[in-house]
Amino acid sequence: MELEKVLKKHFGYQSFKTGQKEVITSILAGRDSLAMLPTGTGKSLCYQLPGIILEGQILIISPLLSLMQDQVEQFKRFGEKRVIALNSFLSAEERNRALHHLNQYKFIFISPEMMRVPYILRKLQELPIALFVVDEAHCISQWGFDFRPDYSKLGDIRKKLGNPLTLALTATATQKVREDIIASLDLEEIVKIESTIDRPNIGFYVKELIDYRDKQANILELVANLKKPGIIYFSSKKTAEQMANLLTEKGICQAMAYHGGLDQNTRILIQQQFIYGQLDVICATSAFGMGINKENIRFIIHYHMPMQIESYLQEIGRAGRDGDPSIAILLYSPGDEHLPIQLAENELPSEQQIDWLFKKITDEQLFKNGNISLDMKLMELGGFTEIQWRIIENFVKNSSLETANLKGLQWTINNFVKERLTIKKNNIYSMKKWIETNSCRRENILKYFDEVKTKEVNPCCDICGLQLNDYQAINHLTVPSAKTDVKNWNDYLSKILINGELRE
């Protein structure tokens, strides 16, 4: 009963969602825990609520800046002001201000790379940390789809902080990844709370096209008919832009593109316009959706093939949070797997690039005053992308002085790249296999996460006989459904500044 009261008083919710109470109870009993709960089930609450009860700071490691920012804002909306996000969004000044007064904050969000700044780590060591939270914990494992080398050092950092009580959170992790998380955080007796990854109200539909050039026309037709709002995912910014323009020009709906190439202000506006129903459809790259909480998304379409089943599941998981029927459609044409393979290769430095780099650095440079110096100019000269360069830097910075030599280091990096590429390619093939399957898609996804389908879902998937007609808008001829907008600036201004009801 106690917990329900806290829930209601501080968060205004009537009851816990699946898994939340189990996780919170386990944490409050002082037991390290691993929670795997689907996206949107409210994993954040699993540390927000204990934070109200436990003494000391809650430290939350989060991989994405945008996610962190969202979380901080969510807190503020609940009236919790004692939150801070330590990340590169902060100016040096803001960061110093915050570090000076760390103990005044209850919830501290931090990116893994910030944790490794010795000064910051020292500051954290001074705090009584009540709970060490690793959000998106699958990033720890190199078998995870979103492996981040910085995350793999978290075990070490946890030790340096005196082995605080730990909560690892993830939405999508295979058995192997879950084992990896536990091992790298060095958790011995852990409570695992795992709920099914199945979302029964989301139907699967794979549409095979003979020619990829038919995709645009297909999308236009689908979007015109389907119940909105929805998200269409792309692997390319340009295609996303084109599609958004096409949808708007043809008068099918209000659509905008969303991708990492847009400036921060524009991204915020478009996201908010979508949430408030000013837009029907977002044409997005994977940059969109993390942390957005919109209940009534009716469809998710994939124009390109995702890189792995895990991210596919996360992306379609943004549909139907309200529990109403929603549909996940994937368009596939022969040869589609080439694009993800190419993307996977581009994320990693090539063997030639590594070779070139190691010809440029001499032993002397490498061990100047006991440190390894890597000239930033080499990044540009060698044509490294930022992601590629970060991988290199990570190895160079962490090679230990006694054992490292240039040849050895080069070998290690090359090996790492090869291994990563193999893993990524395997992920892509698993995705392809799922697309080409002749048996129930839901069952196959469950199998991938070592679950068995226990109950029948209807409608389920195209293989099981799902019909797209069931997801159509009723009066689709009279859309667009997005709010009609005000034409005159004066009306607009008075609409937002003057509350007619109060005027009465």
Binding site: Q69, L90, N265, I270, Y492, L493, L497, L502, R503
Partner: protein, 345 residues
């Protein structure tokens, strides 16, 4: 024709073939080189200084090359251009944006907009008694400004919306040749999210460059208007509070600040004011101490700032010499700046 084209035509005429076309690009971008600053003075182009910081070189190339193709400009070689007769006629018949005042306002334009848009969003949500929403502006300084401003404003909370509405309306009413839509549709309020620049441009059927220049024009109009009518307005003057002046500074430091805002480097200011460089540096330290919006990043890069602070903390010392011994790369001036800006006060 586009306003940005009028501005380019005008600038070319003023430059009189003495500078390359790219000096116009630098001017619009507000490049802080002594050449660009001098040019702005020399050719009477100050009001266009820094009015379009987002303009990319590629877009600039596209714009002026289209003007060449339309036969408004002639290429005189060495990237120098002059007006054709038709270019001249166009310039005479198309007014330049009337209120744009880059020289005086370019430093504060974006901060002014951040304040204005956050103020409107917050006041709008207050008017509808809504407390759960995502602030559209992320700048912490702007949030702090708003917090203290809301405390200071004497208008009762529930009347803020209508009051703000009537003040803005009053300001816009007297404006000639200005379309407030360019600004108003960008605003976010209660359950109504503002449009992006591209969206407004599309809605109003404007070219994006025309839109951006027009947007700056309105902001400058509004700043000017608020300054002029400070006494009749209760809320809007807070938007320019401390942007225009700061009372905690000594007169001499304020003069230095003014020159900095005009884009002069400390060296140049020392020459202009016939003072020693070290005196000017003292002013900068004073600014770092007192003026919240004064950034020291131009003088000390962030990495170094961090290092200085860390050493200061490690050694528990604010002694310049102690810090300097640890970080050879930092000058005494830089250490003073960092300590003034970030150190305990």
């Amino acid at each position: 024709m586009m306003q940005i084209e009028s501005i380019i035509l005008y600038s070319i005429k003023q430059l009189n073939r003495e500078r390359t076309i790219y000096s116009i690009y630098h001017l619009l971008n507000g490049k802080k080189s002594s050449q660009t600053i001098q040019d702005a003075h020399l050719f009477s182009l100050k009001k266009f200084f820094g009015i379009y910081e987002q303009l990319s070189r590629e877009s600039f190339d596209e714009i002026y090359q289209a003007m060449v193709e339309k036969n408004w400009l002639i290429n005189n070689g060495e990237q120098r251009y002059s007006l054709t007769t038709s270019g001249m006629t166009l310039l005479e018949n198309n007014p330049l944006p009337q209120y744009i005042n880059g020289w005086n306002f370019h430093q504060i334009t974006s901060l002014f907009w951040e304040r204005l848009s956050l103020l409107i969003q917050v006041v709008s949500n207050l008017a509808f008694c809504e407390s759960r929403y995502i602030p559209i502006q992320k700048n912490i300084d702007v949030h702090n400004w708003l917090k203290s401003t809301l405390k200071d404003i004497t208008v009762p909370r529930l009347e803020l919306g209508p009051a703000l509405y009537s003040e803005l309306n009053k300001c816009f009413k007297t404006a000639k040749v200005i379309d407030p839509s360019l600004l108003v549709f960008r605003l976010t309020g209660f359950q109504q999210i503002g449009l992006t620049p591209l969206q407004v441009a599309a809605k109003l059927n404007l070219d994006i460059h025309n839109y951006q220049v027009g947007f700056t024009n309105i902001l400058h109009y509004l700043i000017q208007k608020i300054m002029e009518e400070e006494n009749q307005l209760k809320i809007l003057p807070y938007l320019i509070d401390e942007l225009i002046q700061d009372d905690e500074l000594t007169l001499s430091s304020r003069k230095t600040q003014k020159l900095l805002l005009q884009g002069h480097s400390p060296d140049i200011i020392a020459k202009l004011r016939h003072l020693k460089l070290s005196t000017i540096e003292d002013h900068l330290v004073e600014l770092a101490l007192n003026a919240a919006d004064f950034s020291i990043d131009t003088y000390v890069d962030r990495e170094l700032q961090h290092e200085i602070l860390e050493v200061s903390r490690q050694k528990a010392s604010k002694q310049l010499k102690v810090i300097k011994e640890k970080i050879g790369a930092a000058t005494y001036f830089q250490i003073r700046l960092v300590l003034a800006k970030h150190g305990d006060r």
